[in-house]
């Protein structure tokens, strides 16, 4: 029973991971939202039992392998964000898309702040304001991303 849902979530998470690590020119790279975080957020809100904190943790671990200076950094940040999303999923789910985007913005800011703090703690301080850009683009892209994921899950379910 759990296979189709879990499989679809893993598939979308994998696609999002590929989109996240796909090489892009630097200016586009700054703008690129962390698609994996968006996907994990979507599943935490809309399938809070399947897309669980475990999903956030392991997705974060995958990000760590690809781009983390310290193993566990993204895992912790994403686990935290997933936890918040799972806890508040009913409230978030009932909001219109615009308010959802605002909430996503806040979640991404929390995510980035955790990364920022750990960067500083582990001796890789990066204070460039460019690192916050993706929180904005992520929030802007939330409605289309959510629509695509919703379409996919409805279409095949």
């Amino acid at each position: 029973m759990s296979a189709p849902g879990g499989g679809r979530i893993l598939l979308t998470a994998f696609v999002a991971l590929v989109l996240t690590v796909l090489p892009l020119p630097p200016w586009l790279d700054v703008l690129r939202p962390v698609f994996l975080v968006l996907a994990v957020l979507y599943w935490s809100v809309n399938a809070p039992r399947t897309g669980d904190i475990a999903l956030g943790f392991f997705a974060g671990l995958a990000l760590d392998v690809f781009q983390g200076p310290v193993l566990g950094q993204h895992a912790l940040a994403l686990a935290l964000v997933t936890y918040i999303a799972v806890r508040e999923h009913q409230r978030i789910r009932s909001k219109p898309a615009f308010q959802q985007a605002l909430i996503v913005f806040a979640a991404l800011a929390v995510y980035e702040f955790v990364l920022f703090a750990i960067d500083g703690w582990s001796g890789h301080p990066v204070t460039s304001p460019l690192r916050w850009v993706h929180t904005v683009t992520g929030a802007l892209l939330w409605p289309p991303v959510a629509a695509i994921l919703a379409y996919g899950s409805r279409g095949r379910a």
């Binding site: 399938a47 669980d52 904190i53 690809f66 912790l76 686990a79 935290l80 379910a157």
Partner: protein, 397 residues
């Protein structure tokens, strides 16, 4: 939306208490992992496995650019190829001439300084690697290359391109390795100003075209255009490889330190191939990393490191040929000269014998004393030492 998730999640739900509890659990795991990873080598094994798992994805993700490059290369016009061929031939001739001159200079330098270490080629073996992916953001300057532990790559190995130093390996997986570039803000390379011999440290600035030299006093003798070469201190990089050229020196009367910028010679942002270098460990060695340095393991022979090509016309094989008659030295004046010289010429004598077909790594692998982390001894020479009882000359230590 998404009512489908409800039945699917049952087994997960029952698994481990409330969301808060599970979050605490995962957060604790993440913190422990971070702590262990920060203390280096505790998680090397885990990293190794994870990097191996991630490699196919990285390859796949980077295949579109690679395919595009392949296509555009295979449709290149005949005229362009001919032009390129001609250019390469000219470049090769030029390099051959230069390397001959280098040989002569190196020998003369060794004679003048009476140092054993000046003579053996610094680079022992090299291996070309392709760049699989590039990360150039202001925070991280990393490359992923398609050579790993099965090719003998080890952690903290020097990586060069044809113009100069690029960086060193930071994480090594079985088939891939991550290279931290000299321009990464976390990277620092010990350098020497070639003109004056002044040693300092060049720190990455998070920008592919500049390095900073933050530790030079404002009265230091340095000017725009000075060449920076590796100083060999720290033991990670072989000595004397070009690193960067000084582009900007800013002296401020109220600042105790000069602000100096240099431009890396290696084109870190446009290269598609890099060179991994093994060099002799008869100089300061890197701090032990807990892992043995690169030993050859299994793998396809053509992917294994090759020996540095033999010198073109190294003086006839055998020790006696090398002492130049022109500079006869009174043996009494420099009593240690004899052992020093015999050692110095010894590698020359053995190398042509070992190297000509040494491109076959199976044969070459055991021959050039593989870099060892802890020895600071001269290269081993059991068989044909002229004076077996002469103590190894240790002018350096």
């Amino acid at each position: 939306m998404a009512a489908f998730g409800t039945p699917a999640g049952r087994p997960w739900q029952g698994r481990g208490g409330s969301a808060g509890f599970r979050f605490t659990l995962y957060a604790a795991v993440a913190v422990v992992v971070m702590y262990l990873d920060q203390r280096q080598h505790y998680l090397e094994q885990l990293r190794y496995v994870l990097q191996a798992a991630a490699y196919p994805i990285q390859l796949a993700v980077n295949s579109p650019p690679a395919a595009w490059r392949w296509i555009s290369e295979s449709f290149e016009g005949r005229g362009r190829l001919q032009a390129e061929n001609a250019r390469l031939r000219a470049a090769q001739r030029d390099l051959e001439l230069r390397s001959m001159r280098y040989e002569a200079l190196a020998r003369e330098n060794g004679e003048l300084r009476g140092l054993r270490a000046a003579l053996p080629p610094v680079a022992d073996r090299w291996l070309a690697a392709e760049i699989v992916s590039v990360q150039l953001s202001s925070l991280r300057h990393r490359l992923l290359i398609n050579r790993g532990a099965v090719n003998g790559v080890f952690k903290a190995q020097a990586v060069l391109d044809d113009r100069g130093l690029i960086g060193q390996t930071a994480h090594v997986g079985p088939w891939s390795a991550e290279v931290i570039l000299i321009t990464d803000p976390e990277h620092a390379v010990p350098v020497r100003i070639e003109r004056t011999g002044l040693r300092t440290i060049a720190v990455g600035a998070g920008d592919a075209t500049s390095l900073g030299l933050p530790y030079l006093p404002s009265n230091a003798d340095i000017k725009s255009g000075d060449l920076l070469v590796t100083s060999g201190l720290g033991g990670v990089f072989p000595e004397g490889y070009p690193v960067a050229r000084v582009t900007e020196v800013h002296r401020d009367a109220v600042q105790p330190l000069a602000q100096v910028r240099a431009e890396p010679l290696a084109h870190v942002d446009t290269d598609s191939e890099v060179m991994l270098v093994w060099f002799r460990a008869d100089r300061p060695t890197p701090p032990p990393t807990g892992k043995p340095l690169g030993e050859l393991k299994s793998g396809i022979p053509s992917l294994q490191p090759q020996a540095v090509p033999p010198r073109p016309q190294s003086a006839a094989p055998g020790p006696p040929a090398a002492p130049q008659p022109a500079r006869a030295r009174p043996p009494a004046a420099v009593p240690r000269k004899q052992p020093a010289e015999s050692q110095a010429t010894e590698p020359q004598g053995t190398e042509p014998a070992a190297a000509p077909r040494a491109a076959e790594p199976k044969a070459a692998a055991p021959q050039p004393a593989p870099p060892e982390p802890t020895t600071s001894e001269p290269p081993k020479q059991e068989p044909p030492t002229p004076q077996p009882d002469a103590p190894p000359a240790k002018e350096q230590q």
